[in-house]
């Protein structure tokens, strides 16, 4: 068996040397070295696009210098990279100002207001880029789409195509595509119809990858203030895939969901996880206090009354008919710890192995 020797390339990022594979991109090398450059069109799940040009860096190979997009350019041996030179910073600022000229005012950005500062506007702030440095080019038509899930406001679209790429290459739903060319391009749905009439599955991936306020969760936008929003990392309550999510809350009230990009699902969710995982918690129909049935009708009871009655009735039944006359069914929807306690209770509190869960249905 021959051993394949992987050739390592030496690349210096801002003076820090890192070893790279021959198929590494400059952006990989920068991140390996512990530096960061801004990106707008980049989503690691779909690979480099090179459309926004904001990740431009200075590179020097064999004494030749040039500026390349870090996300698309491959590394070369003895390449030297400068990520934050003065000229690069000025380039980035200009690029940002050109992008901003294609969008409506940052003051009204739906993502910045309701969720968190969007990638475009936080990068613009970092580089001191001004929205009105160039004449405004906002001429896009509003998408007429009253679906209840995805708000499309293309006044904030910078044509980075993350949404169409994630929809086509990652989700493979092919519900949206780029229409038109150059300045005339726009994001179109199937026959430019409402997304409800398209192959869209409302997985919400376009919302979550969008670096601006162009695509947002319609259930949340306008109903929260980003500065008050809290995020709790947890797990989607529906199927066995167990996608990581963040629950959004404000003043102790649930407001929405975002995917967790750091968990095994790598940000993927389906329509249930994205749009159905929190409203039921706030439903008016939630049970809010214990109920005891008297003469066929439920009556409100205190916890002590309810649990005392459970204790006395279970004890009576066990004493009269034996422990195996009681059965316990725990829940595949509840946490493992509650299931553990229920089986322990059945086994040592009552004295029966009649404990089962709903794994069969």
């Amino acid at each position: 068996m021959t051993t394949q020797i992987e050739r390592k390339l030496n690349v210096a990022i801002n003076g820090i040397e890192v070893g790279c594979n021959t198929d590494s991109r400059v952006l990989d090398a920068i991140q390996t070295a512990g530096f960061d450059v801004p990106t707008l069109c980049f989503d690691e799940r779909i690979g480099p696009q090179g459309t926004c040009r904001i990740c431009l860096v200075d590179v020097e190979v064999d004494g030749q210098t040039e500026q390349v997009a870090a996300c698309t350019a491959f590394v070369a041996d003895d390449m030297k990279v400068d990520t934050h030179s003065e000229s690069i910073a000025s380039y980035r600022k200009t690029i940002l100002e050109l992008l901003l000229s294609e969008t409506a005012s940052p003051a009204n950005c739906p993502k910045c207001i309701s969720f968190k500062k969007c990638e475009l506007h936080s990068t613009a702030e970092e580089y001191g880029a001004k929205w009105d440095a160039f004449p405004s080019l906002v001429t896009r038509e509003k998408a007429q789409d009253d679906n209840p899930f995805i708000q499309r406001d293309y006044d904030y679209c910078i044509s980075c195509f993350r949404c169409t790429n994630i929809c086509n290459d990652w989700e493979q739903a092919s519900a949206i595509a780029v229409e038109g060319r150059g300045q005339e391009n726009s994001i179109a749905s199937y026959f430019n119809d409402n997304l409800l009439e398209s192959p869209c599955t409302f997985c919400g991936q376009c919302i979550n990858t969008c670096p601006t306020g162009a695509l947002t969760d319609r259930k949340v936008v306008g109903k929260t203030k980003s500065e008050n929003l809290e995020r709790t990392k947890t797990v989607c309550p529906f199927c066995g895939v167990g996608c990581g999510i963040h629950l959004l809350s404000e003043d102790g009230e649930l407001k929405g969901t975002e995917p967790d990009f750091d968990s095994a699902n790598r940000g993927s969710l389906c329509v249930k996880g994205q749009f159905a995982s929190w409203e039921f918690v706030k439903s008016e129909e939630r049970l809010k206090f214990p109920l005891i049935k008297k003469n066929g009708n439920f009556q409100r009871a205190s916890w002590d009354e309810a649990l005392d009655l459970v204790t006395s009735r279970f004890t009576e039944i066990r004493d009269e008919f034996g422990p195996d006359s009681l059965v316990f069914w725990s829940s595949a929807r509840s946490v493992t710890e509650a299931n553990y306690l229920m089986q322990k209770f059945a086994r040592i509190g009552i004295g029966t192995n009649n404990i089962d869960n709903c794994s069969r249905t």
Partner: protein, 546 residues
């Protein structure tokens, strides 16, 4: 599958599916039931993998399939036996693997001799050549072929035999214990794995330690400082029969809408009504809770601390975002309180304490701590020690059981309730993407009524034509156990003779009034995937009778 190789769980990980050379997906409408897993499958296809989908129905996934074997309902065993027949006859199986890792090959070889592709083709309703080609494709991807299955395999009266015939293939192909391969049951509910892991099973203590096997009971008796019952308990299905006969008097149901989700709604309801005393702990006043004597208001996942374990054995932390609403309390709090009232002395105050007690008694997850989960994210069991990284795929160097993998020769068993002149159609039930289970949660999310507003029965154009039915027409669907009214949707997604329904809209359409209470004789999983029905037009006379 536990019987054959040691563990009834996904052998491999979800992300690995994207790197398989071949995916064999059977009885799984993955794009609807596990959308995020289907993304990995589609990616595999884009990367050039073959995708063989075995399903009586056309689904979105069958559009991605490189081969769709549209077999008759409940004919999985003859199909897989014929796969085995081809692989053995043409010597395409992984001989080295079979010799070193398995037992019972000779018996299997003898057993499947009669299951020629031609013989199976007759039963399965597909051409023999399709079976031969598919078997060759599976064999050619040896060591990098992943099988995925869900309830289309298990929800049959021969469900456990179905699983065994699938596992036979996995071993013949040498696909256990390798990356991007294996045999993978995709679990339905968020924490069905965790519930079983925790010992909420009539036969198993936490971590699948058998109550009837010497040593385990004693270990827990010592740890819990109490005597444990020696005999195994009864399953839910047996318990319901016992309620009708007076053997079971009281039941405690935590977070489950038994009446709607279980087969033959009438039977489940009658059984529960026969019990003397019912406690239901839930978040809504479900149809099951309405039958209770005491209803305890539970907190939801968004208000709870603890862990869920997903389909790929990954333990992940659940964290409360808000306080429990009203006077509701978490399941853990309620159980701790109740246990105190029963005089159980334990030093447990939080979900974290409970987890620690459980892991210290279960080598399977002993190395998984909340601290690690918070720092590392999810960890996949087995994870026996603090420095163990967790297990991406099972059976790496040997079968997890520590023994050889046993081939299980199994025979075709047709669905328990065949069609006849009176009930000429087969009803199969399943999921739709935008609804979850009995709909108590997705039914309360705004906008979802636009995606699938209500239940409908999917019927093949040929059958609709025979019955002179129009698309959208409301009909009466009846089985030997009950009837429901439902509009029909004419579509070739349903094959000739088969009708599909979900059970997500119980207010209007209680689909499980129709389903059979036949169940698998080993696992007692109900046969949701096949029962005999008839469809009648609703005439003005039958309306008047209502």
């Amino acid at each position: 599958m536990a019987v054959m190789v040691g563990k009834g769980a996904m052998t491999n990980s979800i992300e690995e599916l994207a790197g398989a050379d071949l995916l064999l997906v059977v009885g799984s409408n993955t794009t609807e039931a596990h959308p995020v897993i289907s993304i990995r499958m589609k990616r595999a296809v884009r990367n050039g993998a073959k995708l063989i989908v075995i399903d009586p129905r056309k689904t979105e996934l069958t559009k991605w399939a490189t081969r769709h074997l549209q077999i008759n309902i409940g004919t999985d065993i003859p199909l897989f036996n014929a796969f085995a027949n081809v692989m053995i006859k043409e010597e395409l199986y992984d001989r080295e693997y079979v010799e070193s890792r398995t037992e019972g090959f000779a018996e299997l070889a003898r057993h499947v001799e009669t299951y020629t592709p031609e013989y199976a083709a007759d039963i399965c309703g597909i051409p023999a050549e399709e079976i031969i080609t598919a078997a060759r494709e599976y064999a050619a991807a040896s060591g990098k072929a992943a099988i995925c299955y869900t309830l289309g395999i298990t929800e049959h009266s021969c469900g456990s035999h179905n699983v065994q015939s699938v596992a036979n293939l996995g071993m013949l192909g040498g696909n256990f214990g390798k990356p991007n391969a294996g045999v993978n049951p995709l679990r339905g509910q968020n924490n069905v794995q965790g519930a079983s892991d925790s010992g909420a099973l009539p036969t198993d203590l936490p971590g699948y330690q058998k109550i009837e096997r010497p040593g385990f009971r004693e270990k827990f008796e010592k740890a819990w400082n109490a005597e444990l019952p020696k005999r195994r308990g009864i399953t839910k299905i047996t318990a319901m029969d016992q309620m009708l006969r007076g053997g079971v008097r009281g039941v405690f149901i935590m977070g489950e809408n038994t009446v709607i989700s279980d087969p033959n709604t009438n039977h489940a309801q009658t059984a529960l009504e026969a019990a003397d005393f019912i406690v239901v702990q839930d978040i809504f006043l479900t149809d099951t809770a309405k039958l209770a004597d005491i209803v305890l208001p539970a907190a939801t996942f968004a208000e709870s601390d603890g862990t869920f374990t997903n389909s790929e054995r990954r333990v992940q932390r659940v964290r409360p975002a808000i306080d429990p609403i009203g006077e509701s309390r978490t399941d853990v709090d309620i159980m701790l309180d109740l246990m105190k009232r029963f005089g159980i002395r334990q030093n447990l105050a939080s979900a974290s304490d409970v987890w620690d007690e459980m892991r210290m008694l279960s080598p399977l997850f002993e190395g998984i701590t909340y601290k690690r989960l918070d720092a590392e994210g999810g960890i996949q069991w087995p994870c026996p020690t603090d420095d163990h990284p967790g297990t991406v795929y099972l059976h790496k160097d040997q079968m997890d059981s520590g023994m050889p993998g046993y081939f299980a020769p199994v025979d075709h068993i047709p669905p328990a309730e065949p069609t006849d002149a009176e009930y000429p159609l087969t009803l199969t039930t399943g999921r739709r993407r935008s609804t979850y289970h009995t709909g108590t949660q997705t039914g309360r999310a705004s906008g979802f009524d636009l995606l699938v507003p209500s239940e409908f029965a999917e019927i093949n154009p040929y059958d609709a034509d025979q019955l002179e039915l129009k698309d959208g027409q409301k009909v009466m669907v009846s089985s030997r156990r009950g009837s429901v009214e439902v509009p029909i949707k004419i579509t070739d997604r349903s094959p000739h003779g088969t009708v599909f329904m979900s059970f997500a809209f119980p207010e209007l359409t209680q689909t499980n009034r129709l389903t059979s209470d036949a169940y698998d004789f080993i696992t007692e999983t109900p046969e949701f995937k096949a029962c005999a029905i008839r469809i009648d037009k609703i005439t003005s006379a039958s309306n008047a009778a209502d």
